[in-house]
Every structure is written in C-alpha cells, then in structure tokens.
C-alpha cells in the first residue's frame, strides 16, 4: 500500500518543504504516491525539486498530476512531464502531445550531467535572456551576466554533486510575495550535498559545529571549495555578486539546512536548520523586475 504524499496547491520552494515533511517518516524504499491533483501552480524550483525527490526513491514512486487543464498544460510546457515519465509511474491526468518552450518558459526543465550540457543551456538562453531581461527593465548587458550565473549554477552540479541534476528558468508574476515579475533560475540535484562535499577539508576544522548549515555558510558565504586549488569557489561568489547587483535573492538548500541571501524586499531568514532531509543541493535565484521611475 502506497503512502500518499499531498502536493500542495502551490508547488514552489515552500510547497516542496511540505512534501519533504510528509516524506520524512517514509522509508526510502517504501511505495509512495505523490498526489498533485489539486496543484494550481509550479515554479522552476518546485518542478525540478519534485523530479529530484522522485530520483531519490528506492522504488519508483507514483505521481498523479494536476487535474486542471491549464496547470497540466503549463507543467507540460515547462518540460516537467517529459522527464517525469522516466522517473515516476504517472497516473491520472497526463497531458499528451504538448511541447515545451513557450515564451514564459525561458529554459524548460533540462538535465545537467556533463560540461556539454552547460554549453547547450548557455547557448539556448543567451538570446532569449536579453529580450526577457529588457522586459523586466534590467540592463541588456545584464543578460550576459545572467547566462554566466546560470553557467556557474549548473557547474555546481557537475563539480560537486557526483550525479546529474536539473535546471529550469522561467519568468512569472510573483504577486503574493512581491507584486512584480521575476525571472527565476532553479538548479536541483540529489547528489552528495555541501556537507559531504566539504567534509574532508572543513569538517575537522569546525568539529562539533560541522553540519549542513555550517557547510552552506562555508561554501556560499566564504567561497570554500573541496578542491585545494585557490581558484575554486569563485562560481558561487560570482553568483552572489550578480544577485546582489540586481537586488535578487539567492537560496541554497542542502541536507537539512537552507541559506538565503536576502534582499530588502523579502523577509526570509538567513539560515534555517533542522529541515526535513533532502539529498544533494538545491539552488534558487530570483531576479525581480526593476521598478521604473
């Protein structure tokens, strides 16, 4: 008998936490049904994290997608179903014949496993990013920085996860939290996460204080890498710089902790610990529309 996990109506970063809370008590090899029939919304983070959660299950989980046609259609256009077919046993309403790539989907859900995947993603996003960022009143020069940020975020998977991951980029109206349009990059993997990645070089130094939160602080705030090469760790620092320049928000979750670089428009907390465990690392970058005078 499968354990039913209710997917909240909004499958975003907060919605994923609700999924993980329900999943915490379920053994990894126990059958699970993710019930997303009443979902009304899915962000790049929510959709890529959902695929990542599916990959962590010992037994192929069942996924029942949104019943609402417009939602199902949108999720199909993001490329979610294209990959979900291989990860979940799909039941219920499964949209067919929809192709990803509509205008609001800047980059559909895309697997990242090798350097060539990063090249392809960057090449695909470059032209479109310029148009989209201009529509958000962000300097056209920022589009190259945006592609660089995307490149560095994806490389984090290749360099540190030890497994493949997912990336997606979308533009949408963030009514509830901001009342403005935002462009969002989500990068998720189910790899070893920051704590394990840095354990041999940093764990001993921090002793009892070493946990997922400490690992995130070392990697994201201090640019520490598991490689001894001095040049390593600059990718995350570069992401922070880009996000800071455009008044954006960066959130990195790994294991049981989440660290955020918070802009003035948001009231999130900088570091949250003791969250339900989630293997690997998950990153969300939010760049808001600039207000014109």
């Amino acid at each position: 008998m499968s354990t039913v996990i209710n997917v909240p109506s909004s499958l975003d970063d907060q919605g994923i936490e609700k999924v993980l809370e329900q999943l915490a008590a379920v053994p990894v090899d126990a059958p699970v049904l993710f019930d997303a029939r009443h979902a009304r919304w899915g962000t790049p983070y929510g959709l890529t994290a959902m695929l990542t959660i599916g990959q962590t299950r010992g037994e192929k989980a069942t996924f029942s997608g949104p019943e609402a046609d417009d939602v199902a259609s949108y999720w199909a256009r993001t490329g979610f179903y294209k990959h979900a077919e291989g990860i979940f046993q799909l039941t219920g309403h499964v949209p067919r014949g929809r192709t990803p790539g509509e205008s609001e989907v800047l980059l559909e859900v895309t697997p990242i496993a090798h350097a060539e995947d990063v090249h392809n993603v960057v090449a695909r996003i470059q032209h479109k990013a310029q148009q989209i960022l201009q529509s958000l009143h962000i300097d056209s020069k920022a589009s190259m920085g945006f592609a660089m940020t995307l490149s560095e975020a994806c490389q984090n998977i290749i360099e540190h996860a030890g497994t493949g991951g997912w990336v997606a980029v979308q533009v949408y109206e963030w009514r509830k939290r901001l009342g403005r349009r935002v462009v969002v990059i989500a990068v998720c993997d189910a790899g070893q996460g920051f704590r394990r990645s840095l354990e041999t070089t940093q764990g001993r130094r921090l002793g009892d204080r070493w946990d997922d939160g400490a690992a995130l602080e070392e990697a994201v705030l201090r640019g520490v890498s598991r490689f001894t090469d001095k040049g390593r760790g600059q990718g995350l620092a570069g992401i922070r710089r880009y996000v800071g320049r455009w008044d954006g928000k960066l959130t990195v979750r790994s294991g049981t902790a989440r660290l955020s670089i918070i802009p003035t428009w948001d009231d999130d907390v900088p570091l949250t610990k003791q969250l339900p465990a989630f293997p690997g690392a998950q990153m969300q970058i939010v760049i808001p529309e600039r207000l014109t005078r």
Binding site: A115, A123, Q126, G145, M148, E152, G231, Q234, G238
Partner: protein
C-alpha cells in the same frame, strides 16, 4: 617573435565546432592545454596575443582555468614552475570578458595587459597605482631606462626601478639590457 592565438578557433578546434562560449572548467582546461601546446617549452622572449574577438561568453570558472593558470605558469615570480619568458597580450576583450577576468585576477593577485575592443591598452587586475603609472610611462614613450621612467613619473629612481622589475617579473613589461618595453604589439 609574435604569436597570435585566436581563442575562438582554439575552442572550436579543441572542444567543439559548435561552441562560441568559454564556459565550464573542463572546457577551460582543454583550451589552456591547447594554448600551452602552441607555446611549447622553448625559453624564448616572445609576445603572445590571445585574441578574444570570436569568443562569446567567458564565465568565472573558465577565466580561472585559462587565464589565471596560464599567467601563473609564466610568472617569473614563481620560479619553481615558471616557463620561458612569454609575454601575453589579451586582445578583443569586451566589458563582460573584462569583468570575469578582473574578478579572477584580483582573486589570485594577478594582472595582464588588455587591449579591449574599444579603448587603449591598459593593465587589468591586481596592480598598485605606482606600477600602473610606471607601465603607462613605458607604454607612452617606448623603450626606456628606470631613470627616464623616474623622471617622467615623478617617482624616486629606486621606486621606479622596483616597480619596473616587478612588472617585468610578472611579464607585464619586457626588458632588454637596462631598457624596459611595453609587452604589447604595435599594429
């Protein structure tokens, strides 16, 4: 001797015909390896132009892998690993190339000679004001001694000499006998 290396061609010839962007560390590693193969192991006094004209994006990781490691290999301040006297000039840089490069150079305490798409040749990276002044003087008047540089820059001769030697060891200036020359190509 002057060598010209078109980085776009190296990228396409080494990694993929389809690529125009210098992104990811493996790509940077492959491109740097190809550049080093072109340069060989000869200890000759050569200026090498690394041309970015046909390069799209350059991310931090790739800039670190190509530029920082290349400069470190040929930096005479690191004699244990330093190779022959190669003087690099980085040509065809746009603002975004420079942004990535500068970030990486400052991180490592390195500098290079840049010939941007629009603008005069200049040093970018970790260089103090004194060294920058001295480099500009040599660039303006051509081959000259420390004494001349001191006169032109208003620095004490010992200060000027120290700055010149440091720039030479960093391969940002060339030296012939007691004369210093800009490590760049006059077109």
């Amino acid at each position: 001797m002057i060598r010209h290396i078109d980085l776009g061609s190296v990228l396409r010839g080494t990694v993929s015909e389809q690529y125009t962007n210098l992104v990811t560390r493996p790509t940077g590693n492959a491109v740097r390896g190809a550049i080093e193969a072109i340069l060989g192991n000869e200890a000759e006094d050569a200026v090498t132009v690394i041309d970015f004209t046909h390069v799209g994006l350059l991310d931090y990781s790739c800039a670190d892998e190509i530029i920082a490691k290349l400069l470190q290999r040929y930096d005479a301040r690191e004699p244990a690993d330093a190779r022959g006297a190669v003087y690099f000039v980085f040509r065809g840089l746009n603002d975004l190339h420079i942004e990535s490069i500068e970030w990486v150079l400052n991180h490592h305490g390195l500098a290079l000679v840049a010939e941007p798409v629009d603008g005069e040749p200049h040093l970018i990276g970790a260089v103090d004001d004194e060294a920058r002044t001295v480099w500009a003087v040599v660039g303006r008047i051509g081959a000259c001694s420390a004494l001349v540089v001191a006169e032109q820059s208003g620095l004490e001769p010992t200060q000027a000499e120290r700055a010149l030697v440091d720039l030479w060891r960093r391969r940002l200036l060339r030296r012939e006998n007691d004369q210093y020359l800009a490590a760049r190509v006059v077109s």
